[in-house]
Amino acid sequence: MNKIVFFVVVALLALLPVLWPDPYMLSVVSAAGIMIVAAISLNVLLGFTGQLSLGHAAFFGIGAYTSALLSLGFDVSLFGYLLVVDPKPVWVAFVSGILVAAAFGWLIGKLAFRVRGAYFVIVTICFAQVMRMVALNWVDLTEGPMALVSIPALTLWIPGEGVIKLVSKSATYWLVLAANVLAYLIVARLVLSRFGRAAIALRENETLAKSIGIPVTRYLIVFSVISAGIAGAAGGLYAHTVRIIDPEVFMFIYTITMVIMVIAGGKGTLAGPVIGGIIFGLLPELLRGVVAPEVQWMLYGALMVLLLLFMPKGIVPTFNGLVRRLRARLAREKTAAAPAKARGANA
């Protein structure tokens, strides 16, 4: 049932560029889609292990910069040696971006999971700020505020057509959609595995999880690596579709956007970050012509407060709860109606 819904939704989304080939709309949706991948990655940590990373933009930025730099090639002098890296094929660069982000996820997990709660949050914030400073000031490597420009687009080999560059609006849209589907499936697979259940157990009661033999810290690090890797993929996607990046990608506001998407949609659910991401990813564009940007931020604030007030668990869990209650009521009414009917037949 759920699988069928999933396929239908994906198929409908895939048809969007055909049904409504408006380039502006497609680019807006693609931009939101990239943030949704990032939100999915944050949900791996925040939703399933309960650890709030407020430095998630760092993994996004690391993925973006690694992928962009490797595809452009760079030279940098390190301790007196000149390191020259030739441009790599764009997919090699993209995968490297994921791997490097995941490696940082391991490092941060290793360091930060010595502590929990507020301390963990602070370590992750600091990490993102440090990465932003590096991107801003290591001009030799990153061009600093001058930004990395002319980043090549991702390519695809199509039988009969050869290798094409994914530059058109619809191609970008499909690429982002594919990334979302992939990220969603990976997280779904993870959560339904032994690993996922252990993560939920440690989120609910860490001491109890330890006492039944779950190596808690090791699992947190594994989740950190996976989360950072997916965030890195989102960053790479951003770099190769927007095709220009600057140190702004490390900005705190991006992390906050991801957190809002996850919390509004429902942390710890698979669909939560997607629903939250669609709302908070598209809202800025929908409101653009209507109200001034300053007013927009106030409106998000108000919306966020309302959501937390009326749906503290997020949209998806609230909706699921409603459906469950409705079904229960229907079932009750059915059983209440059945004896009445039986009596009617006897009479």
């Binding site: 157990a201 609910e204 009661n205 001491t207 109890l208 999880a209 033999g213």
Partner: protein, 234 residues
């Protein structure tokens, strides 16, 4: 079977357990009694590797397990039923049971054991798919005990299993502990209710501010005038 020699555990800056030595023989039912903050829970936590041991030695069946990782200690056959929140509230009853066998690899045997637990606790079978958080306090404790059994322990440690339960459930829990012991599993139980503990066990240790101040058979302890005065109400 289990032996602690001069085990010391710190809790922050304070000494929670101060050079405690105790011993549990195979098949025995031993209790640790004493008031709040006497170091009973910390002792259990040190045994199962949840709390670091500052000095001293812990051995299980002759092998040293001092400061072992919890997952390795449970694999050796020690299960720990901690106090406080006892189950994973958002996991189903069945999932909670399966989590108890987390370190085991024998999938078929795990499935059989889950069935056996359901045979033993019919109330849990009725609630297989229900989130454990929706069970009553007593049912949660049943589930917690069943989960601890899922690791097929040779030594099972209970921390205040009766705490916060309705009187009829307290009785049930103690009955269950006695049954488990009768089935050949060694039991080490922390209990504030000294009266109940000394009714059930073979031997007991009295802890006060991190020290073993008294030990003996259940009968000796019951008849000790100091214990009668301080813990059994005269």
């Amino acid at each position: 079977m289990l032996k602690l020699e001069d085990v010391t555990v710190h809790y922050g800056a304070t000494v929670a357990v101060d050079k405690v030595s105790l011993q549990v023989e195979e098949g025995e039912f031993v209790t640790l009694i004493g008031s709040n903050g006497a170091g009973k829970s910390s002792t259990l936590r040190a045994i199962s590797g949840l709390e670091p041991v500052v000095s001293g030695r812990i051995t299980f069946e002759g092998a040293p397990i001092t400061n072992g990782k919890p997952q390795h200690i449970i694999e050796r056959g020690i299960a720990h039923c901690p106090e406080g929140r006892r189950v994973f509230p958002h996991l189903s009853v069945r999932e909670n049971l399966e989590m108890g066998a987390y370190r085991r690899k024998d999938r078929q045997a795990i499935r059989d054991d889950v069935e056996r637990m359901f045979d033993r606790f019919p109330r849990l079978r009725e609630r297989t798919a229900q989130p454990a958080g929706t069970l009553s306090g007593g049912e949660q404790q049943m589930l917690a005990i069943a989960r601890a059994l899922m690791s097929r322990p040779r030594l099972i440690m209970f921390d205040e299993p009766s705490l916060g339960l309705a009187p009829n459930f307290v009785e049930q829990v103690f009955e269950l502990v006695t049954e488990i012991r009768a089935g050949g599993t060694t039991v080490l139980m922390v209990e504030q209710n000294a009266y109940a503990a000394l009714e059930l066990c073979d031997r007991s240790y009295l802890l006060e501010t991190g020290n073993v101040v008294l030990q003996g058979s259940a009968q000796e302890m019951r008849e000790n005038p100091d214990i009668r005065k301080a813990y059994l109400g005269g």
